[in-house]
């Protein structure tokens, strides 16, 4: 079989790249050895958000019913149904991707791919049968997987990564989350909402270290109030597990030995490379690609998590589309410029562009517009007074250099800012845009007026 393109990996880089190439009239196959949809759809973005929705609802009922005039006599939950809904959502979307492959005439090859040489992909099926395909181009979109801690290997039981955390048959009584990035924080929120005792250990001074410091501090306060024990500036110096649970010795903010049923290690990801031909890697082991997403070997490309940070699904899809359009059309592929990042705990966190910290380090001149949820009519009506919108506007032109939102639905509000940055809109255009009342998005305009020095509502 002779393909124009074989994509290795069926995640948001792989399946999107494959479909777009097929739409360009090319003969395309996509090889996947687990489930179509990749990490994102099966073990990442989607199932976590389903769990978080359940958790938020449960928290609202268990802690805030009275506020809404509700009385609930007996509230209980069925853990297997909580997990089950999350799995059901992934299953449904996974089937959806297989349907999209058919619809777009992408050959879906189940098996593990390796690259014996440029122009060749060998696929090993589950039963061990090997088939080799010829192809003009190869796109490696094999993604990443959870990184374990040295000397503390995953055992699927007491020391786990995010993937195992998604399908725990029994709710743990206690969890130590190591690493306070988006993934660690989302699981911390989830388990805590259901009454698991949660301790978060983070080496750096702030949780969500990539976010604006003010956002991190606000979230830390909120999660602490919700019952999560958060240890920042804290190093793990010893780990052990005895089949029933884990012991983690920490140094820093606290110096003690923590015990729990489970350690959830969320300290980052490592590359998953296909076997075969040797390709140039970056210092940290990610696939090295050029401006057209081509690797060190002609005709072999890379996109998504496998080509390095930021490890985000929407970035992965974007890269794959750029790469494929560059391969088959006159389009000059673009590298990822400005992109949003979100954390779906409650309050949600969403951001784009530079943090205040980074903008200062760069020596940029800018104005900050900050507007609190507590001054928004919609936020109060929705009983969501926690959080703020903070936008950094460059001087003297008023272009957005970064935006940081913590609070209800911030992950939707960031879309407007993303478009604004893409269009190089300035504060004038944001202010001139009539925002619907009452919405949370009005705060984007309000924050802009704060930056310009004439806010109405604060």
């Amino acid at each position: 079989m002779n393909y124009d393109l074989i994509v290795i990996g069926g995640g948001p880089a792989g399946y999107v790249g494959a479909i777009r190439a097929a739409q360009l009239g090319k003969k395309v196959a996509c090889v996947e050895n687990d489930r179509a949809g990749g990490t994102c759809l099966n073990w990442g973005c989607i199932p976590t958000k389903a769990l978080l929705k359940n958790a938020e609802l449960y928290h609202t009922i268990s802690h805030r019913a009275d506020e809404f005039g509700l009385k609930v006599e007996g509230l209980s939950y069925d853990w297997s149904k909580v997990i089950g809904r999350s799995r059901g959502v992934s299953d449904k979307l996974n089937k959806g991707i297989e349907f999209l492959f058919k619809k777009n005439k992408v050959d879906y090859l189940k098996g593990t791919a390796s690259i014996p040489a440029a122009g060749k992909v060998e696929v090993t099926a589950a039963d061990g049968a090997k088939t080799t395909y010829d192809t003009a181009n190869i796109l490696i979109a094999t993604g990443a997987k959870s990184r374990d801690m040295p000397g503390f290997p995953f055992n699927g039981n007491t020391v786990i990564g995010s993937r195992e955390a998604l399908t725990l048959e029994k709710q743990p009584k206690s969890v130590i989350v190591i690493g306070a990035g988006a993934i660690g924080i989302e699981f911390a929120y989830f388990f805590n909402a259901y009454g698991t005792k949660v301790t978060v250990v983070e080496m750096l001074p702030d949780i969500l270290p990539v976010e604006d410091t003010e956002v991190s501090k606000t979230l830390e306060k909120s999660l602490t109030k919700a019952g999560i024990r958060i240890l920042t500036n804290t190093k793990v110096t010893g780990t052990s597990e005895d089949g029933n649970g884990v012991k983690i010795t920490v140094e820093g903010a606290a110096n003690e030995t923590l015990e729990a049923d489970i350690a959830l290690v969320a300290i980052g990801v490592k590359p998953v490379l296909p076997g075969g031909i040797e390709l140039k890697l970056t210092e940290r082991g990610w696939l090295q690609t050029d401006d057209t997403y081509q690797t060190s070997v002609k005709g072999i490309y890379g996109a998504g998590d496998i080509i390095g940070p930021p490890w985000l699904a929407h970035v992965a899809s974007y890269e794959a589309v750029q790469c494929v359009e560059g391969m088959f059309t006159k389009h000059k592929p673009k590298k990822v410029g400005v992109f949003p990042g979100c954390t779906y705990c409650h309050p949600q966190v969403a951001s784009i562009g530079l943090t205040e910290r980074a903008a200062k380090e760069k020596g940029l001149k800018f104005k900050v517009g900050k507007f609190p949820y507590v001054a928004s009519g919609k936020a109060l009506a929705a009983a969501e007074p926690e959080g703020f919108v903070k936008i950094l506007y460059g001087e003297p032109h008023g272009e957005i250099i970064g935006a940081h939102i913590i609070g209800s639905e911030s992950t939707e509000m960031i879309a407007e800012i993303g478009l604004a940055m893409n269009l190089e809109a300035t504060w004038d255009e944001i202010e001139a845009t009539i925002h619907a009342h009452p919405t949370l998005s009005e705060m984007v305009k309000e924050a802009t007026e704060v930056a310009k020095g004439h806010p109405i509502h604060v």
Partner: protein, 50 residues
């Protein structure tokens, strides 16, 4: 029109205004914008002398 296109690259204009200006061969730098912050919008291009 290449000159118009070249100078158009640096003026503040809406994407739609740019598309229409390119079609009509209008030099955006000769126009005054009426959009927010002086941005050139479709109406400005359409009102431009041919």
């Amino acid at each position: 029109n290449r000159r118009a296109a070249a100078s158009n690259a640096r003026v503040k204009a809406s994407p739609l205004a740019r598309k229409i200006a390119d079609e009509k061969g209008v030099d955006l730098s000769t126009l005054e914008g009426t959009g927010p912050g002086g941005r050139i919008v479709r109406a400005d291009v359409e009102a431009a002398p041919k």
